[in-house]
């Protein structure tokens, strides 16, 4: 009895030796922005909030310079009465200078820190990350930490932008046959917005792709469950069906909006020596909007539509792959397919960079329009 009491007391008292983190004394970092400045130094901007039992949650932004992100965090501690902790970090924004130099030195330290979550988002910007964070902080109509996170989170969930999580970035960086992409944030009217997509070669930002190109990269690298796409198709085959002219001056094209787009893709390597890839894309969708008034009736006309859309998508995909080959960036992961089909030693990054520009890709796009609204 005495002994178990002694053990019990020990168990209770020892717990007191664990360091405490009173929540009122913490500054919880939710967003950081990393910029490269001269002489290899890094300027890190922190957006953190404090739990205030009396008032609303208050977020603050501060920025410091140091050689490492952790070093900057230590300095930021000096500029705040709170203890800054990074367990709730949800978004890291990288400025143009550091993104072009390469992100891996920063990201490698992220992987080492078990406190950081794998699901946090990464983004790049053409301005400096400090700009973006300061703009968001100054704008009183938005709450910086929520706004920026949800800007990315919502758009990813609605499949408007592609992958951008830390895990995916590292995964693609480490895979020799695939390159990462990140959303680009810019400020417009004192408000950060997403515009375009940054294409990375390993960890270096080398080129920018438009929103629509981003859609096609996603079409080829993963699948859509309910995507949306606005597409211009040739007007000519439907000339006779147009009942009322739209008020735009576009005489060659009709704009079609496809929604609830569901896609599946299959990429296969057909010839090892000639590097011939065959891509099969199956799309099921619904026509939401057409810029001209066209009566869709009967199977034949629908088939015509499907064929036109298929042709347009194929062309766009061809252009996209040509562009990607030219800048030698492979966000689609043809290298992965090559590596997993060809036996023998593992594919290296250098080898794939040499082979990639000479691969041939043929597309086989299959679109089926399931519905076209409530009228016929």
């Amino acid at each position: 009895m005495k002994k178990s009491l002694l053990a019990f007391i020990c168990l209770i008292l020892l717990i007191g030796c664990v360091p405490m983190y009173p929540i009122e004394e913490l500054g919880v970092i939710s967003i950081i922005g990393v910029d490269a400045i001269e002489q290899g130094e890094i300027e890190t901007t922190f957006n953190f909030f404090k739990f205030d039992p009396t008032g609303k949650e208050q977020s603050q932004t501060t920025s410091t310079k140091a050689n490492t992100v952790k070093g900057a965090q230590d300095r930021a501690n000096l500029e705040s009465n709170l203890k800054l902790v990074n367990g709730q970090l949800r978004l890291a924004i990288f400025g143009k200078a550091i993104a072009e130099k390469g992100l891996i030195t920063v990201l490698d330290n992220f992987t080492r820190d078990p406190k950081l979550s794998d699901t946090m988002y990464l983004a790049a910007t053409e301005q400096t990350a400090k700009d973006i964070l300061m703009t968001a902080d100054k704008n009183n109509s938005i709450q910086a930490e929520e706004y920026l996170f949800e800007l990315i989170d919502n758009n990813i969930k609605r499949e408007i932008i592609m992958r951008s999580s830390f895990r995916e970035f590292m995964h693609e960086y480490n895979d020799p046959g695939m390159d990462p992409v990140l959303p680009l944030i810019t400020t417009e009217n004192q408000k950060p917005i997403i515009k375009n997509i940054a294409l990375f070669q390993n960890d270096r930002w080398v080129a920018t792709a438009s929103q629509q190109e981003g859609f096609f990269i996603k079409l080829l690298s993963s699948e859509f469950k309910a995507g949306q796409l606005e597409l211009g198709i040739l007007k000519e085959p439907f000339e006779s069906d147009i009942q009322a002219k739209a008020n735009n001056n576009n005489t060659e094209q009709i704009s079609v909006t496809l929604s609830e787009l569901r896609s599946k893709k299959k990429i296969s390597l057909e010839s090892e020596t000639d590097l011939n890839f065959r891509v099969k894309v199956d799309i099921e969708t619904r026509i939401m909007e057409i810029s001209e008034k066209i009566q869709i009736e009967g199977k034949e006309q629908l088939n015509e539509f499907e064929k036109e859309i298929e042709k347009t998508i194929s062309n766009k995909l061809n252009d996209l792959v040509a562009k990607l080959q030219e800048i030698n960036v492979d966000p689609i992961g043809f290298g992965n397919i090559y590596d997993s089909t060809v036996r023998g030693k593992d594919l290296t990054d250098k080898e794939w960079r040499e082979k990639y520009p000479s691969i041939n890709v043929s597309f086989d796009v299959n679109v089926s329009i399931l519905r076209h609204g409530i009228t016929e």
Partner: protein, 370 residues
């Protein structure tokens, strides 16, 4: 020292519990790091290595059961004395004890290190060490049946963790497994060898055989236990290989824990912290079973009271925890234990089998000639 050790019926357990003992003691900490070590050798064919390892384990179980069935109610300590004579037998028994102490110390240090890395970087190691050792002493004082009971209960309290692997499983990239069968047989075998640390623990069967009430039925639960370990390890390895890229997996110390980082719920944003905490329940049975084994073996070999041994190892463990701190040294320590474990758990029974059979035959011939 008596070769056969007769245990009072009120101290015995049903063979059925062997399933939980084997599964629990093998799962432990090894499974957290195993996918990485296996992958380093066998690459995308790591899953084949796990299966080969599983088959080898089943063979070892068969061998162990044949050895044990040659005696009425003996444990390895008695068998060694019977086969090699008192002196060598006792020396080998002491090697066993030292090895088990090594396993116990290495897993304690390893777990404390994981808690330090994931949850409390500032916490001194002796603190958690002292808490765990207090619990170990308290439980082992209750005796073997209590240890088995804890194993049984903790199995059900921690098994649910396994199901949460569905999330990383959903994110698997099946291309990571292709092209299949690229590893050479040598690489595959080395992969199985690397899985060794997770198979360590099977030797407990050699010690607790006298405590089994229905000795005829031991094969079934032990085989089931080994098969379950193999399946668990297989699932974890397959998901790790699919989830991580090869470069990442080769550098992660605890891939199985890192996978849980991807799980996120609105009320629990960091599921990995829960897993680290919950893992105490997965390895605690290891601690108490190994600690109990040491006290029991010391009593069998040298007749020292179990209490005294228990307090001594508690002190030694605490000292070990305080002095072994560096990650690189810990990894080396674990690798050494793993290598010794491979010899003791897998190779040794196979060598012992013919010796036991010859010895028994000699005894029988002597009896006949009389």
């Amino acid at each position: 020292m008596e070769v056969n050790h007769v245990v009072k019926p009120n101290l015995q357990i049903r063979a059925f519990y062997l399933f939980f003992i084997i599964l629990n003691i093998q799962t432990g900490l090894g499974i957290l790091g195993a996918p990485r070590h296996i992958f380093q050798e066998a690459k995308q064919d790591a899953w084949i290595s796990v299966l080969i390892g599983g088959v080898i384990m089943h063979v070892v179980v068969v061998v162990m059961v044949i050895i044990l069935k040659n005696y009425e109610s003996a444990d390895i300590l008695g068998i060694q004395v019977d086969v090699f004579g008192t002196w060598i037998g006792k020396a080998l028994g002491t090697v066993y004890i030292l090895y088990i102490f090594g396993v116990l110390l290495s897993s304690l240090i390893n777990y404390i290190q994981i808690v330090q890395v994931f949850i409390y970087p500032q916490m001194p190691p002796w603190l958690l060490g002292a808490l765990l050792i207090l619990l170990i002493v308290y439980t082992v004082l209750g005796g073997f049946r209590v240890a088995v009971g804890v194993t049984f209960v903790f199995f059900f309290l921690s098994f649910w963790l396994f199901f949460f692997l569905y999330e990383p499983a959903r994110l698997m990239d099946l291309n990571h497994f292709k092209p299949m069968l690229e590893a050479t047989p040598k690489e595959l075998l080395f992969g199985s060898y690397q899985a060794g640390y997770s198979y360590v623990g099977l030797e407990i069967l050699f010690f607790i055989y006298p405590f089994i009430e229905n000795k005829k039925k031991i094969s079934m639960p032990v085989h089931a236990g080994v098969a379950s370990t193999t399946i668990l390890l297989l699932v974890v390895t397959v998901i790790s290989v699919g989830f991580f890229t090869s470069i990442t997996l080769e550098h992660l110390i605890w891939p199985a824990l890192s996978m849980y980082k991807i799980i996120e719920y609105p009320i629990i944003e960091r599921f990995d912290l829960i897993v680290v905490t919950q893992w105490a329940m997965v390895i605690f049975p290891n601690f108490i079973l190994f600690a109990w084994l040491i006290t029991y073996s010391m009593k069998r070999l040298y007749g020292i009271s179990q209490r005294k041994v228990l307090y001594t190892i508690a002190t030694l463990l605490l000292i070990g925890i305080i002095y072994i701190k560096k990650q690189t040294i810990i990894s080396q320590f674990i690798a050494t234990i793993s290598n010794i474990g491979f010899i003791i758990a897998i190779v040794y029974p196979v060598i012992l089998l013919p010796l036991v059979l010859i010895k028994r035959k000699l005894v029988k011939m002597k009896e006949k000639s009389k």
